[in-house]
């Protein structure tokens, strides 16, 4: 029969595109670096556009004396604290709003009034309240991550399959256990998707907050080196912002796979 044959062909094909994908990635990025090198050679201005090699050099030096990692660790630490705080506030509130319609009607308008005001718009007021330091970026990031996590939790609770609750009721499972063993697991995929959005928004906010109102962190470092007109260092820290942002997203995706394996697309 042809079925096994197709299966074999498909498996070989997958491996080839997988390897090929890596080479294509390298090729694209090499072409990009070459293009960048040519433009920088042509503009011939190390402040405006240093060569890729100069940036690489700066990156290695910053990594060597650990400055790169110190600022990254500070930003990452703020991120972890903020996501923890935002989750601790938003998840219980979202559960309550999802489970009790009357509570939802009381609280929802206040949430909807605050939600369109972006975390970044709070920076001037937060500067006045907290001053420059750790509290400001943590507040801004917590605020930014709060709303997606809240909405994801509410959505998750509201869209729980009614029949799953019925199934548990017909087994005589008590109400409280239904919440912990049916509603919360059923809401988890939606919550974790929202967490991903929250993490992305918080990361955008941390850079803005540190740029303006913190004495440390990646955003601060970028701005510090800009004022010194040390562009290779500026670009190194920008790259680090991208790397940490990517790693945070990968971490949440890993959490998704680890804790909601049933909600992943079938392989």
């Amino acid at each position: 029969m042809s079925a096994p044959a197709t299966a074999v062909v498909r498996r070989v094909g997958v491996r080839r595109t997988h390897l090929g994908g890596f080479f294509v990635y390298l090729r694209t990025m090499t072409l990009f670096a070459l293009f960048w090198a040519v433009v920088s050679w042509w503009t011939d201005n190390t402040i405006l556009l240093p060569s890729p090699l100069a940036v690489l050099h700066a990156l290695v030096a910053l990594a060597g004396d650990l400055e790169l990692f110190q600022h990254a660790a500070i930003s990452l630490g703020r991120m972890v604290v903020s996501i923890g705080l935002a989750s601790a506030l938003a998840v219980p509130l979202g559960l309550a709003m999802g489970l009790y319609p009357l509570f939802d009607r009381i609280v929802d308008p206040t949430i909807e009034v605050l939600r369109p005001i972006s975390g970044i718009a709070w920076i001037p007021l937060a500067l006045f309240i907290f001053g420059i330091g750790n509290a400001l970026p943590v507040f801004i990031m917590t605020y930014a991550a709060f709303f997606p996590i809240l909405l994801g939790t509410i959505l998750g609770v509201r869209t729980v399959d009614r029949r799953l609750v019925d199934a548990a009721r017909t087994m005589g499972v008590p109400q409280r256990t239904i919440v912990t063993r049916v509603v919360i697991p059923a809401a988890l995929p939606s919550l974790l998707v929202a967490l991903r959005v929250g993490v992305a928004l918080a990361w955008t906010a941390v850079v803005a907050a540190e740029l303006i109102g913190a004495p440390s962190g990646l955003g601060y470092a970028v701005e510090w080196y800009r004022e010194l007109l040390m562009t290779p260092q500026v670009m190194s820290f920008i790259a680090m912002i991208g790397v940490i942002g990517y790693l945070c997203d990968a971490a949440v995706r890993w959490l998704n796979r680890r804790f909601t394996p049933w909600a992943q697309a079938p392989r």
Binding site: T170, W262, A263
Partner: protein
């Protein structure tokens, strides 16, 4: 000839109030007894209110008229004495096969008085009974329709409810799987045992041959509004199997029930 009714519906009506307009009558003036240990199948065209009847028996819904009782106690809500198997199974997607089967024993009253090892033994036995050995660690989305159906059946049986309520559990399966699972269902229900040791079962379907094959009695319902039209005895010998399906009596009963429903359907189209 038999003891008092296990389940008793007296003058049951269920009206839905659709947005302030005229009432929709899902079930009208339904009186029906289900005897202890009997396999009763409710058959009827879609819209005849058969799922509503099952929800009323399960306690997931309350009647607007009449009363629904189990052992002469009025049913006021769902309870572990009546287990339900839902139409598309309602398996917990975050639980493995094992976790789904264990759910009621672990979190509900069905597991009261069972220690961890007794619970494990019961789950083990039930999983083996429905033929799911080896699939314990899989999630429902990794299983075929027939396998999911087996998990739902195992989850139902593990709680050892007095009454089994099943809402078109085989409707989503292909024809071959369906026939195999009809046989399995009767085996697991206990058709090999004496009638006094069987559980009471109420089974909903729209497939007439399925109804005749499974049932001790078939309750035929008609739609708009949902009413009981007839209750037909199925005197086919148990245990039943492929040979039963070939019997002339089987064909005759199927034809008879079809004629009842066809008349109703015909009247509905010209009314």
């Amino acid at each position: 000839m038999t003891a008092a009714a296990k389940l008793r519906l007296v003058g049951v009506g269920k009206h839905f109030n659709a947005g302030g307009k005229q009432d929709t009558v899902a079930v009208d003036d339904l009186t029906l007894d289900v005897r202890p240990g009997e396999f009763l199948v409710i058959v009827g065209p879609s819209g005849c209110g058969k799922t509503t009847v099952l929800n009323l028996l399960a306690g997931l819904d309350t009647p607007t008229h009449g009363s629904v009782a189990i052992d002469d106690r009025t049913i006021t809500g769902p309870g572990p004495d009546r287990g339900v198997m839902f139409q598309d199974y309602a398996l917990f997607p975050w639980q493995t096969v094992w976790g789904n089967v264990e759910f009621g024993l672990r979190y509900g009253p069905a597991g009261n008085g069972l220690d961890a090892s007794a619970r494990e033994a019961r789950v083990r036995r039930t999983i083996d009974l429905v033929g799911l050995k080896g699939a314990e660690a899989k999630y429902p989305n990794q299983l075929s329709g027939g396998m999911r159906q087996r998990v739902a059946l195992a989850r139902l049986m593990a709680n050892e409810p007095e009454v089994l309520l099943m809402d078109e559990p085989l409707a989503a399966l292909d024809a071959q799987t369906r026939i195999i699972l009809q046989d399995e269902l009767l085996r697991i229900w206990g058709q090999d045992r004496p009638a006094t040791e069987r559980r009471t079962a109420v089974f909903i379907t729209h497939a007439i041959d399925e109804a005749v094959f499974l049932a001790d009695r078939v309750a035929v319902m008609t739609s708009h509004p949902g009413r009981l039209k007839a209750v037909i005895d199925i005197p086919l010998a148990r245990p039943r199997g492929d040979a039963t399906r070939a019997l002339p009596e089987f064909q005759a009963l199927t034809q008879h029930i079809w004629s009842l429903i066809r008349d109703e359907a015909y009247r509905a189209t010209v009314a």
